[in-house]
Symmetry: C2
Subunit: 561 residues, 2 copies
């Protein structure tokens, strides 16, 4: 079994280096076209996905079956997927997880990490495009985003979590010989330090990005010896069901109990979340999802430890730009990307009242707002282009919120862009919308001072750049903020903004224009979530994300001479 | 200022090595007699302590003074110390702590660690015996224990915390250059990773061991950039007041704001604990003290993160011994040490009904119980010997509990040893008691299945060794357990016990006899608290103890060619 580690050793050591120097690296091709035998693989992936639809039943050989559930609806067709998944008795899942733990925990670190690298490799080689289609037809992402953001980038985050788990565990020597004089006698002790997993982990996956957080969370728990019960969002089950089946197969093939990884399903009508978090055997909770339930998890998980990523009001401060059009194009792209259903999408765009500094002089606030709206409109006018960038709206609730905010904006501010459905060229029934953009003043803070999930943004008129920065960083501190974007030409102001966003705990991107999406987060390089504001308490990935998932229990006894 | 790090670099690097290999090391002399110029230093220390009594007022130049408090009573004289300490407005302490943070957080890691090593060095060179006497006359420890357990060993734990803080921070590269192609363009980003402290830490120190947990907690918070408000137990203020004054002096001398460390006082009648934990500016809580308040802290600290060490039912399984008398002497010593007012003192001693295996055959349960009681009696009969080992009873509540449990034991089990005051040879009015030992069966589990603080132990009749192990490890799992002690001759049973205690999260010492106290925990070698059972969630010291005290906030921008 440790051959699995040998098989992946070179990759793992390269990943360790990447985590140290945080330069660009990934073992995976960035674009789907560069995947080995891309065309055939994509056809196979689509077939595998279609086979799930045709079967109508997802086979998962796990214990405790009590029934079936399944209520997924494709945002592309707005038709039910029609896949039924086994529903399991929760207590049984905990019991079998606990039973599976001792042998897994007793295995050498390299064995566990080898098996987990193999899981990621099998997902990559055998299931990637199947998962891509599963993500498209549940989360509603575009094909390219599903490949990158829910495929290879999520695999990278999984490897990254293994690197940090390994580092935290290796910091503990397995044994020591200890000698000290006590008065006249020399005491010699042999000490053994065991890494003991905390216990059963419950991993919540979210509706819009199921794998990106779940895979690294699962890796962090499993690498440190803990079993994982996966609880997908009922709207987005298939990607995680495929995931769980791969884990179970690879674990079993490696001689371990597949019940180290199981699937717990619920429905929108009868959610299981609180039951799972408060279960007496829950030791770890990883949660990605809504602010509301995330905060409940943080407050109520005890005695389990909780790692959360929820959401926030991501902000933009637009104070100056060498090339304003380039800056606005980058912002517009990010406002459109997956219809801003990303935890890193910006929402609140602060612009000084007297305008934005450019080499051509100040561009007034109103003009900036109009030009940004025009840039968004430009990206979304043509349905084919729109479909590539906007993709679909994952949930009907998001559409409802869009229309509600549109009405509020019309009376309280000025609607820069009204949302409208566009006709997806491949899926004419897709649930779609172009973005809503509102121009407001700080008097409308009640509208924008919380996350408005979906393609909703606010261009906010501020007194000046300092005021913009103050308001933007306050949003991060009070409502949470994962990312932040700054355009400015004054280096002193940039330094001030870096310090202010550091205190507010938001990852800052400054003066970026061009081909890279502003909110692209690179595994091994970009830290995701600081844990320093209400947008979540866990970082992908640092030592803190892994170090609490196990304890050190020592045993010591006299050395027998 | 970074010369301070250079000054202590050799020591710090040696400490790093000790944390890696966990062999025996300390830069400090183990016994007070080996301190440099021991006699003069001890005289000076006593004078410094006496000067506090004579002054009747502890000068602490910190902001927000609103009054004075002081209600310490020496367990050695049962007279008030009569020292008044400044009482501060809590909001002011948080405000000045926050104001002090940015410059401290901006200092290089080596600068902070250099200053903190200097603090420990100043405590060691200038205040150690003053603190020893302060601990004696508040916590009630013996001179030798105050020197070791509250002096040099606590300093060692402080250095250890710095080693791990340094390790966790060094795991984050300060900057990276990142290059990737996006389509036709090459994107080059310069990334900066800032370590951002979580915010104001509140450090609770306990009544019986004020410095041992507080110093490493303070070091962990300060090394990672956070200010600390120290909240000592109202019965044991002086050791922490001296501590705070040293921190403030050394910080100021190094050019930092002394308000990075302040003292928040309360009284038994008007406790401040909940106010401090729930204060909007509290970001970190370190708590050592009662199970009850510790669990409240764990449940209610959110959004602050909490590191706790409370207490538990430490257990003994006595199944076999090559030299039963030696085992019983070691157990008796540990039952007496500081009147079992240590979080590592054993309480529940499980013995098989049909006796303990010895080379001379089975020694029956009743005889083992009697011989253990006799060994304790032997250690405590002579007041001079008793004073060295038992010292005093810190609090009147502990005496009251002793008498209450004595009465319960008389009706519910058999009293093996009744507690009685002994006359301390140097302090005839000292609050003292010899231990209470009860012989019970599992039917009396309600008596022993929670921590009974103080010199109270139970010898519990079990069916056999397996039953003893099952019951003992269940105590750790349900009521918490920091340490555990095993005497057994069957290697298979020892392996079984090591595995069982590992699952229960208690640090196990097997077959130890002789000069070393059973519950001696060596800094740099013995992990203290596993975080895996209700006795606390934090370990002194591992990466998990430090890694959450700061976040990583990055800023990235295009490389200017």
């Amino acid at each position: 079994m440790s051959n699995l580690f040998e098989l992946h050793r070179a990759l793992f050591e390269r990943a360790q280096q990447a985590c140290r120097d945080r330069a660009c690296w990934s073992p995976f091709p960035e674009m789907p076209g560069k995947y080995p035998n891309a065309e055939a693989a994509q056809v196979d992936g689509r077939s595998a996905f279609t086979a799930h639809l045709l079967a109508g039943r997802f086979e998962l050989d796990q214990p405790g079956r009590v029934g079936e559930l399944g209520e997924e609806v494709s945002p592309y067709t707005q038709e039910p997927l029609g896949i039924r998944y086994p529903q399991a008795d929760v207590n049984t899942l905990f019991d079998v997880a606990e039973a599976a733990m001792p042998a897994w925990a007793a295995a050498p670190i390299e064995t566990r990490i080898g098996v987990l690298l193999q899981v990621l490799d099998v997902i990559y080689r055998e299931h990637l495009f199947e998962i891509v289609h599963a993500v498209m037809h549940t989360a509603g992402q575009s094909f390219n985003m599903a490949y990158a953001g829910s495929g290879v980038n999520a695999l990278d985050r999984g490897i990254e979590a293994l690197v940090y788990a390994d580092q935290a565990m290796r910091a503990v020597t397995p044994s020591a010989r200890w000698e000290r004089r006590f008065g006249p006698t020399d005491v010699k002790l042999q000490k053994t330090y065991r890494l003991v997993p905390r216990g059963v982990a419950v991993c919540f996956a979210c509706a819009s990005f199921p794998t990106w957080n779940a895979w690294p969370s699962m890796m962090a728990s499993l690498a440190t010896g803990n079993p994982v019960i996966v609880k997908p969002h009922p709207a987005t089950v298939l990607p995680m069901a495929i995931t769980v089946r791969v884990f179970r197969r690879v674990l079993a093939e490696a001689g371990f109990d597949p019940n180290l990884v199981t699937l717990a399903l619920d429905s929108m009508a009868e959610p299981l979340g609180q039951v799972l978090v408060k279960h007496a055997k829950t030791a770890i909770v990883d949660f990605t999802g809504s602010v509301r339930f995330g905060q409940w998890v943080e407050r109520n998980a005890h005695p389990a430890i909780a790692y959360t990523e929820t959401a926030g009001c991501n902000t933009v401060v637009l104070a100056g730009a060498d090339d304003l059009d380039a800056a606005l194009r980058s912002l517009a792209t990010t406002l459109c990307m997956f219809s801003a259903q990303m935890c890193t999408s910006p929402q609140n765009i602060y612009v000084p009242r007297d305008g934005v500094d450019t080499p051509q002089g100040k561009v007034p606030f109103a003009e900036v707002a109009q030009r940004l709206a025009a840039a968004v409109d430009e990206l979304t006018r043509d349905p084919k282009k729109a479909s590539m960038i906007l993709a679909t709206i994952q949930s009907p609730q998001t559409l409802a919120l869009l229309h509600q905010m549109n009405e509020a904006g019309a009376t309280r501010g000025q609607v820069l862009l009204s949302p409208r459905a566009y006709v997806h060229p491949d899926f004419p029934k897709a649930r779609t919308s172009t973005p809503l953009m509102l121009k407001v003043t700080p008097a409308e803070r009640d509208l924008y001072a919380e996350e408005r999930f979906g393609p909703i943004s606010f261009v906010i008129e501020c007194e000046n750049a300092d005021d913009a920065l103050t308001r933007a960083t306050m949003d991060a501190r009070t409502a949470g903020g994962l990312t932040a974007f700054l355009y400015a030409t004054d280096e002193a102001f940039i330094a001030q903004a870096e310090a202010a966003y550091a205190r507010a705990g938001a990852q800052l991107t400054t003066n970026l224009t061009g081909a890279m999406p502003l909110n692209f987060a690179a595994a091994y390089s970009d830290y995701h979530v600081t844990g320093l504001n209400p947008a979540g308490n866990a970082t992908l990935t640092n030592l803190s994300f892994v170090a609490g998932r196990f304890g050190v229990v020592q045993s010591r006894r006299p050395v027998v001479a």
